[in-house]
């Protein structure tokens, strides 16, 4: 059984976690009631770790559009975008995405993970360099592994380190794709995007910005951090997902560079997988309209995010470096983090438990994500449930 021996540490971790009761990873929502409420372990639970930033998963117009697409186009495409899986609605979504982002070209992938992985692995080939932020998402790291380019990390959110590494590359900096994210999903921190853009321009590199967690969150139209900072014209490629602010599943890349269209014939994650189901495409198209036309959703999201961030801070928790719809609470000891995660769930609050090495430091995280659909009362309950954890007078955590 040597093939399977490598799973022994995972099995031990799972066994250890089960000693606390249920497994924190893969929690079953027995019934989903709304964007912010589900039944978990038979109990009504506030969902505070769902990345459902704008709360659009139950939006009536999105549901109606998906139902109509099911009737009109069936349950699935059964084929790749490259073969039989491109319907007129996929094409329309691409045109609408390009218009939304004010770019000339758009490409729709089946998931956000596949979009990022496909773009990173395809844009940078054997003689190129990928210069990625050290805290990049797994889809970026996996794209790096697939592509065959030289992979270099720069210190998280550190433009000086990025510049140093571009300088060391010499002429090769012109063959370099810099990769950063609009909002980092673990700590909810933003990159110093203007400095990053200035540096990559100075060295003639290209930038791919992953706006998975920042689309719908930043910018007057919800296009993300590049829009909010008026840097869109200087960001060559934007990738993102439909599975957060847009409330469905799928991914995309937009660009003004005509070469993006050629990626259709080169990205393995685009070519060798079935295209998004028509119902998913339909609800995504509807949600895209809502992002653009309902800025009050963003306002509500930020109001909730600020309320949670300041509430947890005032309760004495060490939280991420800046307010954002992702609010991470640091807990130094893994045992305490797991215990607290269970106490929160028992109290009707679901958050994400994140354990190293999935965290950017040696601390564990109780990661919350806010939604525009959370009510003030729900956010108050999340804060008070966290505060109750500290009533045992135990040390929480610190950013390391």
């Amino acid at each position: 059984m040597s093939l399977l021996e490598k799973f022994a540490p995972l099995n031990k971790m799972r066994t250890d976690l089960l000693e606390y009761g249920s497994l924190p990873f893969g929690v079953v929502t027995e019934r989903i009631i709304s964007p912010t409420i589900g039944i978990v372990h038979g109990r009504e639970t506030i969902l505070a770790g769902s990345n459902n930033y704008l709360g659009l998963t139950f939006e009536p117009s999105c549901i109606e559009a998906a139902k109509a697409a099911l009737d009109a186009e069936g349950t699935g495409t059964t084929g790749s975008r490259m073969a039989n899986g491109t319907y007129s609605t996929h094409h329309a979504l691409e045109q609408e995405l390009a218009a939304f982002f004010d770019r000339q070209h758009a490409l729709v992938f089946t998931t956000g993970f596949l979009a990022t992985m496909g773009m990173v692995s395809t844009l940078a080939g054997r003689d190129d360099v990928l210069l990625i932020d050290a805290d990049s998402h797994a889809s970026i790291y996996d794209g790096c592994r697939l592509g065959g380019a030289e992979i270099i990390r720069f210190r998280h959110n550190d433009p000086a380190d990025l510049e140093k590494r571009l300088r060391r590359l010499g002429e090769r900096s012109a063959n370099t794709l810099v990769v950063a994210e609009g909002l980092y999903s673990m700590l909810g921190d933003q990159p110093p995007l203007e400095a990053i853009v200035d540096i990559k321009d100075r060295y003639g590199a290209c930038l791919l910005l992953d706006e998975a967690h920042s689309m719908g969150v930043f910018g007057a139209h919800g296009r993300g951090l590049a829009e909010a900072l008026d840097l869109e014209d200087r960001v060559e490629f934007v990738v993102g997902t439909f599975s957060k602010s847009l409330g469905s599943v799928g991914g995309f890349c937009v660009s003004n560079l005509p070469e993006l269209d050629l990626i259709r014939m080169a990205a393995r994650s685009y070519i060798f997988t079935a295209s998004p189901a028509p119902s998913v495409v339909a609800s995504t198209r509807e949600a895209l309209k809502l992002i653009a036309t309902r800025p009050e959703l963003r306002e509500r999201l930020w109001r909730n995010a600020n309320q949670l961030y300041s509430g947890l801070q005032e309760s004495g928790f060490q939280v991420g470096p800046q307010p954002s719809p992702v609010v991470a609470v640091f807990v130094d000891q893994a045992e305490l983090a797991i215990e607290w995660w269970h106490q929160l769930l028992d109290n009707g609050i679901y958050v994400n438990l994140v354990i190293p090495p999935a965290t950017p430091s040696t601390s564990c995280l109780l990661r919350c994500s806010m939604s525009a659909a959370h009510t003030t009362e729900q956010v108050n309950k999340i804060v008070s449930s966290f505060a109750d954890l500290r009533s045992e007078n135990r040390v929480a955590g610190s950013a390391v």
Binding site: E150, I151, I152, R153, K164, R168, P356, T362
Partner: protein
């Protein structure tokens, strides 16, 4: 150009910051299995050595590095023209 011996010295020096008092790094010691470095410590170690040599180590090559000797060898191969 940093020689193998110079690279080895740098690795040992920087490693010293991560080891228990009195613990030393042998050339054939494995960084994780013998010296107990965590993945985060490995990342910090790499960054510190990169700065000392003014080089960037390709992530692609790091999985092949298991021991102090292999780390010094990799540094020697990358640090062409760099002054230690």
């Amino acid at each position: 150009m940093a020689t193998y011996a110079e690279c080895l010295t740098i690795v040992r020096e920087v490693l010293g910051e991560y080891l228990e008092p009195g613990q030393t790094a042998g050339e054939n010691d494995a960084l994780v299995a013998d010296l107990g470095l965590s993945s985060l410590q490995m990342l910090e170690l790499v960054v510190e050595i990169e700065d000392q040599l003014d080089i960037s180590l390709p992530l692609n090559q790091l999985p092949d590095v298991r021991t102090v000797h292999e780390f010094a060898q990799m540094l020697e191969s990358v640090a062409g023209g760099a002054q230690p």
